[in-house]
Amino acid sequence: MTLYLDPAQIFWDAFEELEPPQPEWEEQFDYWHDYVEKFFLSNGMKFEPNDSNVEQWLMAPDRAPFSEMVKALLPRMTEQTDLSETEAILFAHWLPDLHMGTSVTNFTMHELGLKNCFGFAISDRGLSAPFFAFDTLYKYLSAKDCSGLLLIADQKHLLYKSKVVDDLQPRNAAAILRLDPSNKAGLEYRGYKRVQYDADADIAASIDGLLDHFGLLGEQATVIGPDTLVSAVNIPGVKVKITEDTLVCAAPFAAFADAVEPSRDHLLLCQDGRHITALAFKGEDQ
């Protein structure tokens, strides 16, 4: 199945406070301190009291649960697109939700009034989760001949302290994309690929190899990715767009939506250690 992605059907934003803390939640500190200790032990990890981030998690002035971010973005899409026939919703994230236990896909189905829709969440694979989810949704839609939504979100407050999060300083950010096989115009989806490289000196060749693998033409391609990857690109005619790391999983789609030139090919990249994961789109009218 050939899938054309309409860049106008990508919406993203960063958020501040969407769920104000309530004073009575301070009474829950002891409960959640105990919870986070059990959470560590449950996962086979040692716990020190200083590992808890409960006060910040509950009472921070800029709390944004995933469902509230999605709720804020959905009307922007429904204003111009009828989503009542959506048959699949995939949700991708890296960092955990502020609300534990909430099903973001079920929330979205409920918001949209969808009765016969399949929902699934993909995480535990770092920054590549939304790329993998995009490709998984594409395959699902190919088999079912129906339209679907990809939801992406991350947020900044964790129940426990994390050096990774301290270093990253994530924002509350989300993106939603509509994948509609009936689109006849837009950028043609060319696929998903994950490659490993041995040394930084190999990054340029790896990206060159990805462009070649997807049949994207260097002189009319835009490579979107983190500075660590795109700064290595040195191909005549290639444009680069650096993604904003603090937007986490939404970053490549935010940059794509903002910088897209429909006639150009686009290669979206993310990096986890020495792995590069890519999504490729062929420009229109080529």
């Binding site: 032990l41 469902s67 609300h99 534990m100 236990g101 909430t102 079920n106 929330f107």
Partner: protein
């Protein structure tokens, strides 16, 4: 899909409803009313320092008994996100040490569908067997709340949580007890799940009869058939309502474990498998689990027909 082997374990130690109700700061009178209305007298609990490695080797020994084929996939299921593994070996290390798991090359852990998670695991196993990605799957499901404060077991006007584990081995053989009609339903209105507001949880609890009815209807359960229901042991009040609404005889809902074991989360329906297999008056039963978040799972078990009589596997 054949149920090739089955095991269950309960702890010896008990906690009375009064202890749970009072631990949550309530009066003993509330416990008396709870017993009468909801049908739970006591629940079982593991010792405070319980670790799953305290029961898993024995369960695997039981499951291995009489098995000629070793499983190649292992699914660990728990209804709640926290599970007692403190100060003990991890599942991965057990996988390396127990001979019944020697051929396992796929390990999955499932808890997303709360108390219905074991049905989602059965569906996953069924898919793996049908697609040939596994030949034999061992599923261990259960919970221990032993290292949580006793008050956490009490859910006012709803249930009391007890500890238990079950083990199932399933494969694609066509002899023996067959598991079929696996149905999974989700109700997006209950998206807030396990940690929703009091209002959300209240709304979910009020929908239990409706959710149960919807599942049993989709499974073509005939209330007049006498086919037993191996129930989600949330409480007797909800099942009494279901029986009145549907015309199902009370005795057809096997609530025999409720009073002494309470609600053992995702294992409830499966804890009565041995009763089903030894009951000569029935050849099939429906199993049902209802999970917070609006997840409902169901399946049917059928004994094999052998020359006009029924035999247990």
């Amino acid at each position: 899909m054949r149920l090739a082997s089955f095991s269950r374990v309960f702890p010896e130690q008990t906690i009375a409803v009064e202890d749970c109700v009072m631990a949550a700061g309530n009066q003993p009178l509330e416990a008396k009313a709870f017993r009468r209305i909801f049908g739970i007298d006591e629940v079982r609990k593991w010792q405070d320092d319980f670790n799953i490695s305290d029961v898993l080797p024995k369960m695997l020994d039981d499951l291995q008994h009489g098995q000629s084929v070793l499983p190649d996939a292992f699914i660990y299921v728990h209804a709640c996100p926290l599970h007692a593994t403190s100060a003990g070996p991890t599942l991965a290390s057990l996988q390396e040490t127990h001979p019944f798991l020697a051929d396992v090359d796929q390990i999955y852990e499932m808890d997303q569908n709360c108390c219905a998670s074991l049905f989602w695991a059965l569906d996953a196993a069924n898919n793996m067997l049908n697609r040939g990605t596994a030949n034999c799957v061992v599923i261990i499901g259960g919970e221990s709340f032993s290292d949580l404060p006793t008050k956490e077991r009490y859910m006012p006007a709803c249930t009391i949580l007890g500890d238990a584990f079950v083990g199932l081995v399933v494969d694609g053989q066509t002899n023996g007890t067959q598991i079929s009609d696996i149905v999974l339903q989700s109700t997006p209105a209950f998206h807030s799940g396990l940690y929703g507001s009091d209002k959300d949880v209240h709304a979910f609890n009020h929908s239990q009869v409706k959710l149960t009815t919807k599942m049993l209807d989709e499974m073509d359960f005939d209330p007049q058939s006498g086919e037993p229901i191996l129930p989600h042991n949330i409480n007797s009040f909800i099942w009494a309502q279901y029986c009145v609404n549907s015309g199902t005889a009370r005795d057809d809902v096997w609530l025999n474990l409720l009073a002494d074991y309470g609600h053992c989360c995702t294992t409830d329906a499966f804890l009565n498998i041995d009763r089903f297999q030894s009951d000569e008056t029935t050849d099939s039963a429906v199993l049902i689990g209802v999970g917070q978040g609006g997840f409902v799972g169901g399946c049917r078990m059928r004994k094999p027909v052998t020359g006009g009589t029924y035999a247990t596997c």
